[in-house]
């Protein structure tokens, strides 16, 4: 029973999406994602979980249209993703990649400012930022506590600071959907908590739809409204953390036994490895 209220609350709708990195004759045999169908609600935090090679990051890249699926359709906010231009996609979705290349000496402010480029069309993207762009950049940098690092080089700051700057760059795109690939992978505990709280705040205060890929089951359990468990390119389970993060489900997917108890504060499922 699909009605208007329903569809307006859907960030992504995937129908039979298949994707493979190799082109040509072997394309079918090595599919990373296989006939994926699901709905992702807007205004929520969705965690995409799964073992190595299950297609998590690939799915995220399809959602940002970094790659396009060979089969199936993806709809974003009611529009066909393949029908939009790259720049139109970039105004709706921002992607925070797992690793940020840092070969050239750009400053943090310059890197954050690059997030404004989807909003400037014209002669090959040649433009000068106006005061409105600067105000947006300034606010995003203050929000993520990197404003004081504006003139430092990307290569000079710590991993946590760089990750916050990349999130600031994603915010100045003014997206409705924020995609994050392993946002806490290379961070210590303190910075993990920091980033997780920022993500939750952006969702709660701004209504930003967040879709994140993570290896960290506990982080996902604690901070996500919904989780999707991928296995070998298919959805193994999708629902609330309570439903998905259960010993039987995890054992079936990861192939090892796990202990699941309750988080002492939130009561949400908590995963531990057995002795």
């Amino acid at each position: 029973m699909m009605n208007d209220e329903f569809t307006s609350n859907v960030a992504y709708s995937l129908q039979d999406v298949s994707f493979s990195y190799s082109r040509g004759k072997h394309a079918g045999s090595e599919a990373v994602l296989k006939e994926l169908s699901c709905l992702m609600l807007s205004g929520r935090v969705l965690g995409i979980l799964g073992p190595n090679g299950s297609g998590k990051s690939t799915l995220l890249k399809l959602l940002a249209r970094v790659y396009q699926p060979q089969q199936g359709t993806i709809e974003i906010l009611g529009e066909s993703l393949s029908g939009l231009s790259q720049i139109e996609v970039a105004k709706r979705v921002a992607l925070v990649p797992q690793e940020t290349l840092q070969v050239f000496p750009f400053t943090i402010a310059e890197m954050v400012l690059m997030g404004r480029s989807p909003h400037h069309q014209g002669w090959g993207g040649w433009h000068w930022e106006d005061s409105q762009d600067w105000a947006i950049v300034q606010n995003a940098m203050e929000e993520l506590d990197v404003a004081h690092l504006g003139d430092r080089l990307v290569t000079e700051v710590s991993g946590g600071e760089r990750q916050r700057a990349v999130i600031a760059r994603a915010l100045v795109q003014e997206p409705q959907i924020l995609l994050l690939d392993e946002p806490t992978a290379f961070l210590d505990l303190h910075h993990q908590l920091d980033i997780a709280r920022i993500i939750r705040r952006l969702n709660r205060e701004r209504g930003l739809t967040v879709i994140l890929v993570s290896h960290d089951l506990n982080l996902a359990s604690q901070y996500c409204d919904h989780v999707m468990l991928l296995n070998k390119g298919r959805i193994a389970a999708m629902g609330s953390p309570h439903m998905v993060i259960q010993p039987k489900v995890l054992e079936a997917v990861y192939g090892c036994s796990v202990l699941v108890d309750r988080h002492p504060q939130s009561g949400l499922p908590r995963v531990s490895l057995p002795m």
């Binding site: 970094v66 996609v89 993207g125 409705q176």
Partner: protein, 396 residues
């Protein structure tokens, strides 16, 4: 199972304790609200190292002034001493006034207008183009050691030009010489091979690129040597001199043609300055920021091949300009390609004007190829970069 089945099975069973408010409009992320109160006020950027329009003009106009000064100074060097007052008068006459007044019989103005000036102008265009190609290749390959000479693009162009020269294809068809076009084809071939190699493995290393460049250079050089060895000795001797990179003897019509080729290439590069900025973040990230990566890559590669082809067909192989200059400009001025491209062009032009002045006057009255100069300066800098800046170069 349809998407809706997932939806009904899972979502509505969720004990959602704190359902967030759903976005009501498209401007969910209104980050600008805190400044909307001073909507009229031009909030100046607080980051001193970030590029603004006024900083752009300041740098570019300063560099233009220094370029003009360098140009005049370089004109002053040569076997015959010409006072600077005379040089400035002739230059001014060329730029603003009717230069017939300077007198055709005057030997100093003939030397200036038909010997020194074309050569210094050629040096400027060649140096500037090489530096800008270096900038573009470095951004595209995300590798600060990419340089048209180091990765074999110049050799490819040279092979194309050598084929044209030795088999007489170089004889002009109509008024257009086939030489730059053959060089362009050679450069394009080399670029495509290089690109396939660098993209063959995900997250390719700097070393792969350098090794592939060395081998590509060796292969093209072998072809060129083979061609020169079967060629008529007189032609072969001219070939050797040209291959080492010389800027001798251009005339004004030839220069005019070079400027046409370079103009097309430079516009193609310049219009992608902002896309090049985003491409330094990686192709996937660039795409997620709205860059049509494939289109930009094709356009930049064509421009790089066109520029390298034109430059090599006029001046032979001049190495390392595309490596040293972009690195220095990034270090001192900015990594932003909107400023980096024009600044590298101007500084690269200045550098080669000076290097060529040394090459043609240091051992006066004989001279040595300017390619020797740039290799002697650039080679050690390249090695120094390779050993000391490994972390910064992304090699560790």
């Amino acid at each position: 199972m349809t998407p809706l089945d997932y939806f009904s099975e899972t979502t509505f069973m969720t004990p959602n304790l704190d359902t967030p408010p759903l976005p009501s409009s498209s401007s969910v992320l209104s980050l600008e609200r805190s400044v909307s109160s001073d909507a009229t006020g031009n909030r100046a950027p607080v980051f001193s190292r970030t590029l603004t329009r006024s900083r752009w003009w300041a740098w570019v106009s300063a560099a233009c002034v220094v370029t003009v000064v360098t140009f005049v100074v370089c004109l002053g060097f040569g076997t015959q001493t010409i006072p600077y007052s005379r040089i400035i008068a002739v230059v001014m006459a060329v730029v603003v006034g009717p230069f017939t007044e300077q007198g055709i019989g005057d030997p100093t103005s003939v030397i200036l207008l038909h010997v020194r000036m074309p050569r210094v102008v050629l040096a400027f265009f060649v140096g500037g183009s090489l530096a800008m190609v270096g900038v573009a290749l470095q951004a595209l390959l995300r590798n600060p050691l990419a340089d048209p000479f180091v990765i074999g693009i110049s050799s490819g162009a040279a092979l194309g030009a050598a084929i044209a020269l030795l088999f007489g294809v170089g004889i002009s068809v109509g008024s257009i010489s086939a030489l730059p076009i053959c060089a362009f084809a050679g450069a394009l071939l080399a670029l495509m091979i290089m690109y396939r190699i660098s993209m063959a493995q995900y997250g390719f290393s700097v070393y792969t690129l350098l090794l592939a460049g060395v081998v590509l250079n060796a292969i093209f050089s072998a072809f060129i040597m083979f061609l020169t060895s079967i060629a008529d000795p007189n032609r072969a001797f001219g070939m050797y001199a040209w291959l080492m990179g010389t800027l001798t003897g251009p005339d004004w019509p030839t220069l005019g043609m070079l400027v046409v080729y370079l103009g097309v290439g430079l516009v193609m590069l310049g219009m992608h300055a902002q896309s090049l900025n985003l491409l330094t973040l990686g192709e996937e990230t660039a795409r997620s920021l709205g860059v049509e990566v494939e289109r930009v890559k094709k356009s930049v590669f064509l421009a790089a091949a066109l520029l390298t082809g034109a430059v090599v067909s006029f001046s032979g192989i001049i190495g390392f300009v595309g490596l040293i200059i972009p690195h220095a400009v990034r270090l001192v001025v900015s990594a932003d390609h909107r400023l980096l491209l024009p600044m590298a062009g101007l500084v690269g032009g200045m550098f080669l004007m000076m290097a060529d002045t040394v090459a043609r006057t240091a051992l006066s009255p004989s001279e040595f190829p300017v390619g020797v100069m740039t290799a002697l300066v650039g080679g050690p800098i390249f090695l120094w970069l390779l050993t000391t800046r490994q972390t910064q170069l992304g090699m560790k």
